[in-house]
C-alpha cells in the first residue's frame, strides 16, 4: 500500500481541506491550520500511524487558538564565545547532553556544551520520576527498547564512578485477582525474549510481605528486579561535573539562536554569547530538538510537547507506602498512552513520588502545575496504594516530555546536513537510556571527525571517570564526621534542619566544577529547602552563604535565573 496516499486519505477524512501533506522524500510535512491544539497533535499522529515509520512527520500545522509562544530574550548578550572553534558543540545540558559531554571527554577534543538556562538539568532532566526503567512496555526493535536495555545495565557502574546514589529496588506490577496468575506465569517467556532477566511472579502472600500497603484486591504481581531509582538532576549534574573535570567546557546561559549552513555543512552557530565555528554539532536540545534541527536545515521530525506532573511526599510516610516502585494494571479505566504509566516510586533520597499524568501542550516550557493534575494522579495511584494521601505532599512539579510523532528516539547523523548528530525525541525512558545514547553519539561524532581528518581521534590520556561527590555529612559514620568538623567547623553548623545540611556542604556546592551560585542551584546539589519546610528556615541562611562566597550583596543573590532576586532591597529604602 502507498503509505503516503493512505495518510493523505486519513487526514482528509478527519480534517477535510484544512490540512495539506507534502512529501519530502524521507519525511512528510503537514501544513494548514486547525483551531485547537488537540487536533494539531491528532493530525500528526494520524499521519505517523499511516506512514508506519517509512517516513517521519514534520507537523507545521498552525494552532489558531494558541499561537506558539515567543522565545524568551536571554538574560545576557556578550561576545565571550565569539569566534571560538570547538571541535564539538553540544546543544543542551540535560542528562543526554551531559552524558554525551562526558563520553566525548574520553577523547582529546575541544568540547563546548551550550545550555540556555542558568544551570544544567532544568528541563525534563530535573522534572521526571527518576526511574531507571526495566523497559516493560517497549517494543522490541525500537530505539527506545534497545537503548533502555543498554542504559539500564550501565547504571550500577556509572553511579559508582560518579558517586551518585542509585537504588536498584525493583518494580512490582500488580494485578487484581488470582485469575491473572496463569497469564503472568505464561508471560515469563515473553520477558525473557524481551531481554529482561530475573522476572518473577508473586502470589498474594509473598506480595503482601514485600509490599504491605498495596490494595488487598491486588493479589498477584510481576516483579522486575532491574528497575531502580536515581536522582535525575543529581545524575545530570554529576555527568556535567565529571565532563568538566575531564576538560569539557560547560557554558550556561548560552542559547543557540541560529546557524549558517551551506553545502550540507554547518558553517557557524549563532548564540547570545557570540558566533561559534564548531567542526561538528550535537543536537540534545530536548523539546527544542526539532527547532535546532531546523536551524541546521535538517528538520525531518517534530516534537509535540507532553506535560507530566508528579507529587513528592514527605519521607516520613515513605515506609507506610512502598519500599520500591509499585504500579497496578487492570484497576484503572484510563487507557495507557505512549508515556510510561508511572507509579509510586521510592526515590533514591527516600521520599515518595507519585505520578505522572500525560497532557499534550503547545508550550514547550510550561512547567506550571494545576490542581486537576494532582487530583488525577492521586486518584489513579490510590487504586494501587489506598493509603496514599495528599496531606503528605511537600511539593509537586511538571516536566515536559519531547516525543516525536513516531514516538521513538532519534539517534543519528543528519540527513541533509553532514556535521550534525541528533539525540532528539528523547522522551521517557530517556533518563535510563542516556548513558547508552551517549556512547552511540560519541561513536558517530568521532567517526565523522575521523572521516574529515583521516586520522582516529586520540584518547584523552588523563581521563578520570571517577568524580568525587560532595560529602553528605549526616550520612557519615561518627568518627569521620568528627574528623571533618575538626578540619572545617562549618561542617558542624546545620543550616537546613529538615535535610540536616551543614554550612560546609552549602559552601562545597558553590565550589564545584560546574558551579551554580543560586538558591535553587544549591538546593539541587545539597538539598537545603528540599524537605518538609521547603526552605522556610534555611532559605535566608543559604542566601547569606551565597552572598559571602560570591562577594555579592544579598540583593544580587538569585533564587533561580537572572531577575529572581530573593530580596529586592533594604528596608526603608525609598522605593520607586
Amino acid at each position: 500500500m502507498d503509505r503516503v496516499k493512505e495518510s493523505v486519505k486519513r487526514l482528509k477524512a478527519a480534517f477535510g481541506d484544512r490540512v495539506a501533506l507534502r512529501d519530502h522524500g524521507h519525511y512528510v510535512r503537514l501544513e494548514g491550520s486547525l483551531r485547537v491544539w488537540e487536533d494539531v497533535v491528532r493530525a500528526g499522529s494520524i499521519a505517523a500511524k499511516a506512514l508506519k515509520k517509512r517516513k517521519s512527520v514534520v507537523n507545521a500545522i498552525v494552532c489558531e487558538e494558541l499561537p506558539a509562544p515567543k522565545p524568551q530574550e536571554p538574560a545576557v548578550r556578550d561576545l565571550v564565545l565569539d569566534n571560538t572553534r570547538p571541535d564539538v558543540l553540544i546543544i543542551g545540558g540535560g542528562v543526554v547532553g551531559c552524558a554525551i559531554a562526558r563520553e566525548l571527554s574520553r577523547y582529546k577534543l575541544d568540547i563546548l556544551l551550550a545550555e540556555k538556562e542558568y544551570d544544567v538539568a532544568l528541563h525534563a532532566s530535573s522534572r521526571n520520576d527518576g526511574m531507571v526503567h526495566p523497559g516493560i512496555d517497549l517494543r522490541r526493535g525500537s530505539l527506545k527498547h534497545t537503548y533502555n536495555h543498554l542504559g539500564n545495565r550501565m547504571y550500577d557502574d556509572l553511579c559508582r564512578e560518579l558517586g551518585v546514589p542509585f537504588n536498584r529496588c525493583g518494580q512490582y506490577l500488580c494485578f487484581p485477582g488470582r485469575r491473572w496468575l496463569p497469564a503472568l506465569y505464561g508471560s515469563l517467556v515473553y520477558w525473557a525474549w524481551q531481554g529482561l532477566r530475573g522476572v518473577k511472579v508473586l502470589r498474594k502472600k509473598a506480595l503482601r510481605q514485600a509490599e504491605p500497603a498495596l490494595d488487598p484486591k491486588l493479589t498477584s504481581a510481576l516483579f522486575f528486579p532491574s528497575a531502580g531509582s536515581v536522582c535525575p538532576y543529581g545524575m545530570t549534574i554529576a555527568l556535567a561535573e565529571n565532563a568538566a573535570e575531564n576538560g569539557a567546557k560547560i557554558s550556561l546561559n548560552t542559547v543557540v539562536e541560529g546557524m549558517e549552513v551551506s553545502g550540507g555543512v554547518i558553517q557557524s552557530v549563532a548564540t547570545n554569547r557570540g558566533t561559534l565555528r564548531p567542526k561538528v554539532v550535537v543536537n540534545a536540545a530536548g523539546v527544542y530538538s526539532d527547532e535546532v534541527a531546523a536551524y541546521a536545515n535538517d528538520q525531518f521530525f517534530s516534537i509535540h510537547p507532553r506535560r507530566g506532573t508528579n507529587a513528592l511526599l514527605d519521607s516520613k510516610v515513605s515506609d507506610s507506602l512502598t519500599n520500591s516502585i509499585v504500579a497496578s494494571y487492570g484497576m484503572s479505566e484510563t487507557k495507557t498512552t505512549h508515556s510510561k504509566g508511572g507509579g509510586i516510586v521510592r526515590t533514591a533520597e527516600g521520599n515518595i513520588l507519585v505520578g505522572p499524568d500525560a497532557v499534550e501542550t503547545p508550550e514547550k516550557e510550561d512547567f506550571s502545575t494545576t490542581r486537576i493534575s494532582i487530583e488525577n494522579v492521586f486518584a489513579k495511584h490510590r487504586r494501587t496504594v489506598p493509603a496514599l494521601s495528599e496531606r503528605a505532599v511537600i511539593t509537586y512539579f511538571t516536566g515536559v516530555r519531547a516525543p516525536t510523532y513516531e514516538e521513538d528516539f532519534i539517534i543519528q547523523t543528519g540527513i541533509s546536513t553532514r556535521n550534525i548528530v541528533h539525540a532528539a525525541g528523547i522522551q521517557s525512558p530517556g533518563l535510563t537510556a542516556a548513558p547508552a545514547i551517549a556512547k552511540e553519539i560519541a561513536r558517530l561524532v568521532t567517526s565523522y571527525l575521523r572521516e574529515q581528518s583521516g586520522a582516529a581521534v586520540p584518547a584523552n590520556e588523563s581521563f578520570n571517570p571517577v568524580r568525587k561527590p560532595i560529602v553528605k555529612t549526616a550520612h557519615l559514620p561518627d568518627h569521620e564526621r568528627e574528623g571533618l568538623i575538626q578540619k572545617n567547623p562549618d561542617y558542624g553548623v546545620i543550616v537546613c534542619r529538615c535535610e540536616e545540611v551543614s554550612a560546609g556542604e552549602v559552601r562545597d556546592a558553590l565550589r564545584r566544577p560546574v558551579p551554580c551560585a543560586t538558591a535553587d542551584g544549591v538546593k539541587r546539589r545539597v538539598r537545603p529547602g528540599m524537605g518538609r519546610c521547603q526552605g522556610g528556615f534555611c532559605s535566608p541562611l543559604v542566601a547569606r552563604i551565597i552572598a559571602s562566597e560570591t562577594g555579592l550583596p544579598l540583593e544580587s543573590v538569585m533564587k533561580s535565573a537572572e531577575g529572581s532576586a530573593v530580596v529586592v532591597g533594604g528596608v526603608k529604602e525609598v522605593l520607586p
Binding site: 524568551q72 516520613k316 512547567f367 506550571s368 502545575t369 494545576t370 490542581r371 494532582i374 505532599v393 511537600i394 511539593t395 509537586y396 549526616a474 561518627d478 564526621r481 568528627e482 568538623i485 575538626q486 567547623p489 562549618d490 558542624g492 553548623v493 546545620i494 534542619r497 529538615c498 540536616e500 551543614s502 518538609r532 519546610c533 521547603q534 526552605g535 522556610g536 528556615f537 532559605s539 535566608p540 547569606r544 544579598l554 540583593e555 538569585m558 533564587k559 533561580s560 535565573a561 537572572e562 531577575g563 529572581s564 532576586a565 530573593v566 530580596v567 529586592v568 532591597g569 533594604g570 528596608v571 526603608k572 529604602e573 525609598v574 522605593l575
Partner: protein, 418 residues
C-alpha cells in the same frame, strides 16, 4: 565522642525551652539546654513588635526583650547552654535517654534521665495548601519574610499580598508597610480572620490594609519573579468558585496559613502525635512515652508567648521530678465543638496541683459555658463571653475533685449560655 550526663535535657532554646530549663534547675536538677541556632530566643528574636510579657512580667515587651529577660535568667544559673548545637539523633538506652549533638566543635553525646522537647513549630508552605502555577521568586512564608525584614534588614518585595490572616501574616502586613513596601491586601479563605482580633485592628485597620475574607489565591504567574496572582472567591466548603477569578499584579506573596508543631525528634522517640500535630500528653506535659515531656509550640501552637512559658515551666518541673512508674491516664472526651484541647489526659497517679488545659473552639461562638463532668458529676462550669478559633482559652480543673481510676470517664461539653 565526649559524653556528659544530666538529669534533664531540654531541646530547643526558645521561650519554652528556656522556661523549662529554668524550672528544672530550680527543682534541683542538673540541666542542659540545647539550641540549634547561635543564640537563645527561638522565633522571638525576629518578633520585634511589642505585646509580649504582660502576663509573665506585667510589662509590654518586644519579642527580643522578652527572650533576653529569659536568657539573662538562664545565664545566671549553672545550666549548661549548648547553642549552635543540633540534635541529630535521639534514643533511649536502658533507663536513660541519649542524644547526639553536632556543632562547630564536633560531635558530642548527652545522656539524661528525662527529656523536654521544646522544638517549636514550622509554617505551612505554599505547596501544602495547593498553590499552583509557576514557581517564581517572591513567594514565601510570613515567618521567613519576618526574618528577612527584621533580622537581615531586607525587603522580600515591593508590592505584597498576604494569603491567610494568621497572626504572623497580619503583623508582617504592618511591618512591610512601615518598612516602605505596599501591602495590597490580606486574603483569607475562611469567612472570619484567622488571627487575633487585636491584630486585625492594630495591623490592618490602622493602616487601611483591606482584608478579603472567603477568598483565596488560586494561581500564581511569573517566570523568574512573581508578576501576578489570581484570586477567587471560595464557597462554604472552601472550594474556589469558577467565574470569580481576578488577577492582581504583585511581586511578593506572603503566606500565613498555619503553623505545624515540629516533632521530628518526638517521632524518633516513638511518641504518638495528636490531631493538632503535637504529642498526645498528660497534664504534666508528659507524652505517652515515659520520661519524654513536650512544651511550647511543639506541643500545641499558642498565640501567646506568655502561655508558652507558663506551660513550659510546668514541663520542666515535672521532668525534674520524673521517676519511672505506672500512670493512671484518663483521657478527656471533648465534644465536637472543641477544635483542640491540650493536654489530652490527666495522670491520676501524679496529681498535685489543679491541672491546666488550653482549648480552641471549632467555630465562632457567643456566650458559652464549658462544662466538665467526671463520671456524670459536674466538676467545672466556666462561662466565656465569646469564643473564637484563633484565640486560645484556658481553664483548670479542681484537683481535689479528681478522684480518678483507670475506668473514670471525663467529658467536656460546650453549651450556648443564655
Amino acid at each position: 565522642m565526649i559524653s556528659s550526663h544530666y538529669d534533664v535535657a531540654v531541646i530547643g532554646g526558645g521561650p519554652a525551652g528556656m522556661a523549662a530549663a529554668l524550672a528544672a534547675r530550680e527543682a534541683g536538677s542538673k540541666v542542659i539546654l540545647i539550641e540549634r541556632e547561635a543564640r537563645l530566643g527561638g522565633v522571638l528574636k525576629q518578633c520585634v513588635h511589642d505585646g509580649f510579657g504582660l502576663l509573665r512580667f506585667g510589662e509590654r515587651l518586644t519579642g527580643p526583650e522578652y527572650a533576653y529577660r529569659y536568657e539573662t535568667l538562664v545565664r545566671n544559673t549553672d545550666i549548661t547552654v549548648a547553642t549552635g548545637s543540633f540534635v541529630t539523633r535521639i534514643g533511649q538506652d536502658g533507663g536513660a535517654f541519649t542524644a547526639a549533638l553536632v556543632s562547630r566543635d564536633g560531635l558530642r553525646a548527652v545522656t539524661a534521665k528525662s527529656v523536654v522537647l521544646a522544638t517549636g513549630c514550622r509554617e505551612r508552605t505554599a505547596k501544602q495548601i495547593g498553590i499552583h502555577g509557576t514557581r517564581p521568586a517572591g513567594i514565601l512564608t510570613a515567618g521567613t519574610a519576618q526574618y528577612y525584614v527584621n533580622i537581615l534588614g531586607k525587603l522580600p518585595g515591593k508590592r505584597c499580598l498576604v494569603l491567610g490572616s494568621g497572626d504572623i501574616g497580619l503583623i508582617m502586613a504592618r511591618r512591610l508597610t512601615l518598612e516602605g513596601a505596599s501591602v495590597l491586601g490580606v486574603y483569607e479563605a475562611k469567612p472570619t480572620p484567622g488571627g487575633l482580633t487585636r491584630n486585625v485592628a492594630q495591623c490592618l485597620d490602622d493602616y487601611d490594609i483591606p482584608l478579603y475574607t472567603s477568598s483565596t489565591v488560586t494561581r500564581v504567574f511569573g517566570r523568574n519573579r512573581l508578576e501576578a496572582v489570581e484570586v477567587s472567591a471560595v464557597d462554604a466548603a472552601m472550594r474556589p468558585v469558577p467565574g470569580t477569578e481576578t488577577v492582581v499584579e504583585c511581586d511578593c506573596l506572603l503566606l500565613s496559613v498555619g503553623l505545624i508543631p515540629e516533632n521530628e525528634l518526638a517521632e524518633k522517640l516513638g511518641v504518638p502525635l495528636g490531631a493538632g500535630g503535637g504529642p498526645v500528653s498528660d497534664h504534666n506535659c508528659m507524652t505517652l512515652a515515659d520520661g519524654v515531656f513536650s512544651c511550647g509550640n511543639a506541643l500545641h501552637v499558642s498565640d501567646l508567648a506568655d502561655y508558652v512559658s507558663e506551660s513550659a515551666a510546668l514541663a520542666g518541673a515535672r521532668a525534674a521530678s520524673y521517676r519511672p512508674g505506672k500512670r493512671t491516664l484518663v483521657f478527656l472526651q471533648p465534644d465536637e465543638r472543641f477544635q483542640i484541647v491540650s493536654p489530652q489526659a490527666i495522670d491520676g497517679s501524679r496529681l498535685t496541683d489543679d491541672p491546666v488545659f488550653f482549648f480552641r473552639s471549632a467555630t465562632e461562638k457567643g456566650r458559652t459555658t464549658v462544662r466538665a463532668e467526671l463520671d456524670g458529676k459536674v466538676i467545672l462550669e466556666k462561662r466565656y463571653s465569646q469564643l473564637r478559633p484563633p484565640e486560645m482559652e484556658r481553664f483548670s480543673l479542681p484537683a481535689g475533685q479528681l478522684a480518678l481510676t483507670a475506668s473514670s470517664k471525663l467529658t467536656l461539653r460546650m453549651e450556648d449560655a443564655v
